[in-house]
């Protein structure tokens, strides 16, 4: 059972989504404003946050930023605005995925499951001693799901961690954005490639010394992204 926090201002949508998710066995707490959502998040940390972008008072983007300041809980944006700018800004603010309204309960649940799934689904089977790997200044512990840089823990959002684990599992190999969407986000080949771009951007900001000249996650023009070579 997953504990979902739904922040959505429209009562009908709140009721519909709550009903749909409860039927699928998820415990859902629904609030109408960003302020209530942040309060509820502090009081009882959920497993995942479903966040509407258009909220009265504090905007959804602001809520997203506030959550990311303190928590690495998975965030899925639930937006009636599929306008490009909003989605990109939402992803850059730290959201892991987004769903455009209207969406059926099966779609919402599928996205929640994908984000919540055990990390790095297709990582190669590794021996116990081999689970902690060091790449230059970066230390990735696959079993503890922890990433350190210069010995300090990095706080990575779930999608960032999944992407880093996936890419670093095959150093020097290039993946297209479509492949990454399928593997990391479990989206179709035609998912929004901007999910990948926004996530790479956030990941670089946390891992690289100079995000404009990345060492770890490199861009291969015309093809996609690659971990290394260092």
């Amino acid at each position: 059972m997953t504990h979902v926090l739904l922040i959505e201002d429209d009562p009908a949508v709140r009721r519909g989504v709550t009903l749909g998710l409860r039927r699928r066995g998820h415990e859902t707490e629904a609030v109408g404003t960003g302020e209530d959502g942040l309060e509820s998040l502090a009081a009882c940390p959920p497993d995942i946050v479903l966040l509407d972008l258009m909220l009265p008072g504090m905007s959804g983007l602001e809520v997203c930023r506030r959550i990311r300041e303190t928590s690495q809980v998975p965030i899925v944006i639930l937006s009636a605005r599929s306008d490009d700018v909003d989605v990109v800004v939402g992803l850059e603010a730290g959201a892991d995925d987004y769903i455009v309204k209207p969406a059926g309960d099966e779609v919402i649940e599928a996205r929640i499951r994908a984000v919540m799934r055990r990390l790095a689904p297709s990582q190669p089977t590794t021996e116990a001693g081999n689970e902690c790997t060091t790449y230059a200044d970066l230390e990735i512990d696959r079993s503890a799901l922890r990433v350190r840089k210069h010995g300090t823990d990095l706080t990575l959002a779930p999608s960032e961690l999944k992407l880093l684990l996936f890419l670093s599992a095959w150093p020097d190999r290039t993946f297209s954005r479509q492949q990454l969407l399928e593997q990391v986000w479990e989206q179709s080949y035609y998912g929004d490639a901007r999910l990948v771009d926004a996530c790479v951007m956030r990941l670089r900001a946390k891992t690289e010394d100079d995000p404009r000249h990345p060492r770890y996650i490199q861009t291969v023009r015309g093809f996609g992204y690659r971990f290394g070579p260092l």
Partner: protein, 497 residues
């Protein structure tokens, strides 16, 4: 100004007419003047000659006997010739029907007509004639006998004196007159071209301004106005033009604002529909589950299924409307990525479980820079339509054994054209598109088969597909193959800017 005087243009015609009128008037003036002057010169010459001849005769005739003999006549003409002086005339005299006597031989040539009529004449006769290429004047003066009583009319004596002299001097005067007329008229005609050009320019300037204004307006710039000065007909035309432009502009603005309002309305409506739809679609799964559980009565189950299905359809339609609104508002943007076309096509089919129903023909390693999501939308729409109207599923009415043999009849083929663009054709073996529908196949809410229209699609699928192709800088066209079936051709630049 690129247009000066065009042959056959209004300006040329005006200049030509102007020059014609001015040369006509110059010529008329010159001709009249010439004619008058010529007449005056000749008249004076002959009047002088007659007067002088008569004066000489008046002094000489009384000396003649009543019946002058040839010798008397000779003496007379000698004296007359001598008295001619500067005029240098040659004289002759004849009495009755006797022959003409002159001072020197040969006798001066006289026009026969003159000698014939002179015999019976009572007054002086003059005639101009040409002799030896020279214009000459002949004067015939019948000598009258002095009347015994002064108050009785004179009577002819039968003696006629002739004098003939050259008019070369007068001819020279007349020739110089012609030369003067010509020298005067030609420059006048030439000079008239200048005011003609000026006038033409003055008249044509507003015409040209009107023309260039009309041209600018024809390109769609409805702000165009012409500057109107004066109160003539052209100024009136200019004012009419401005009124027309203002009316057109107002109409166009009204139309545009109405269209913008209609589009905004469509966008707003779809947007407003999304929130209640979001609530409804979030529970379609619940409805499906309950309908399938068997706990409800058949009517309730059917009602639930109906509501769930139609809700999903409605959501899809609103999504399409939103997409169209984004194209209309110019808010749709490309998210380009370099993609393997074959992989893209296979994924599109696999995602919808169509891979076994469609023949795919794509060369290995064909890559293009495109927006995979948008191309997927186009290909899914085209392939879906092809399967619905011309694929194996469309053949439900054919007998089972034929159906079993039926191969996948939808073919998707991708090639790189010689021009370097990506060409994807989707072909089916259905009945094709009716000729009446073909031109409107990409229009919104056009459906090829109204009877089956509700079965699939929002009626916006092809319109959205065409917009997506356009967004890539490509085209989407529909046609019927000669061997039957519809062919949709998607042409995309391999590297849109």
């Amino acid at each position: 100004m690129k247009r000066r005087l065009l042959p056959g243009g209004l300006g040329t015609r005006m200049v030509v007419a102007f020059v014609l009128v001015s040369s006509l008037s110059a010529l008329t003036t010159a001709a009249l003047t010439f004619y008058q002057a010529r007449t005056a010169i000749l008249q004076r010459a002959q009047d002088d000659a007659v007067r002088e001849l008569r004066a000489q005769l008046d002094s000489l005739a009384p000396d003649l006997p009543a019946r002058p003999a040839e010798a008397d006549l000779r003496t007379l003409v000698l004296q007359l010739d001598r008295a001619g002086g500067a005029r240098d005339w040659r004289t002759a005299a004849g009495y009755r029907d006797g022959r003409l006597v002159s001072a020197r031989s040969p006798a001066p040539d006289l026009p026969v007509h003159l000698t014939d009529t002179a015999a019976s004449a009572t007054t002086a006769l003059v005639q101009r004639f040409h002799h030896g290429g020279q214009p000459r004047l002949a004067v015939a003066l019948p000598v009258a006998l002095p009347a015994a009583p002064a108050d009785r009319p004179t009577r002819p004596s039968g003696l006629v004196v002739y004098a003939t002299f050259s008019l070369a001097g007068q001819q020279r005067d007349i020739t110089s007159l012609v030369a003067a007329a010509r020298a005067g008229a030609l420059p006048v005609v030439l000079a008239s071209i200048v005011p003609a050009l000026l006038a033409a320019r003055r008249v044509l300037r507003p015409v040209r301004r009107l023309r260039s204004a009309a041209e600018t307006m024809a390109t769609g710039d409805l702000d165009t106005r012409v500057e109107v000065t004066g109160h003539d007909e052209l100024a009136g035309l200019g004012r009419t033009f401005n009124t027309m432009a203002a009316t057109l502009q107002a109409d166009a603005a009204t139309l545009r604002s109405m269209e913008a309002k209609a589009r905004r309305f469509a966008a707003d409506v779809s947007h407003e529909l999304r929130t209640p739809l979001a609530a409804m679609t979030a529970v379609t799964g619940v409805l499906d589950d309950d309908a399938a559980s068997g706990d409800l009565g058949p009517d309730a189950s059917e009602a639930l299924t109906l509501v769930a299905d139609e809700t999903r359809k409605l959501a899809h339609m609103v999504e399409d409307l939103m997409e169209i609104s984004r194209f209309d508002a110019g808010a749709a943007r490309l998210d380009l990525d370099e993609i393997d076309v074959g992989e893209l096509l296979r994924k599109t089919l696999a995602l919808r479980h169509w891979q076994d129903q469609v023949d795919v023909d794509v060369p290995e390693g064909l890559r293009a820079r495109l927006d995979p999501r948008r191309v997927d939308v186009v290909l899914a729409n085209l392939t879906g339509n092809a399967l619905r109207h011309g694929g194996p599923q469309a053949r439900t009415q054919v007998p089972a054994q034929v159906q079993a043999q039926a191969q996948a009849q939808v073919r998707v083929r991708a090639r790189c054209s010689q021009a370097g663009s990506l060409v994807i054709t989707v072909r089916d073996s259905g009945p094709g598109i009716a000729d009446a529908v073909l031109p409107h196949v990409f229009d919104r809410f056009t459906k090829g088969d109204t009877a089956r229209a509700r079965s699939a699609g929002s009626g916006l699928g092809l319109a959205i597909a065409a917009e997506n192709a356009r967004l890539h800088g490509g085209t989407l066209t529909a046609a019927n193959a000669p061997e039957g079936g519809a062919v949709f051709t998607l042409t995309l630049p391999r590297d849109p800017v």
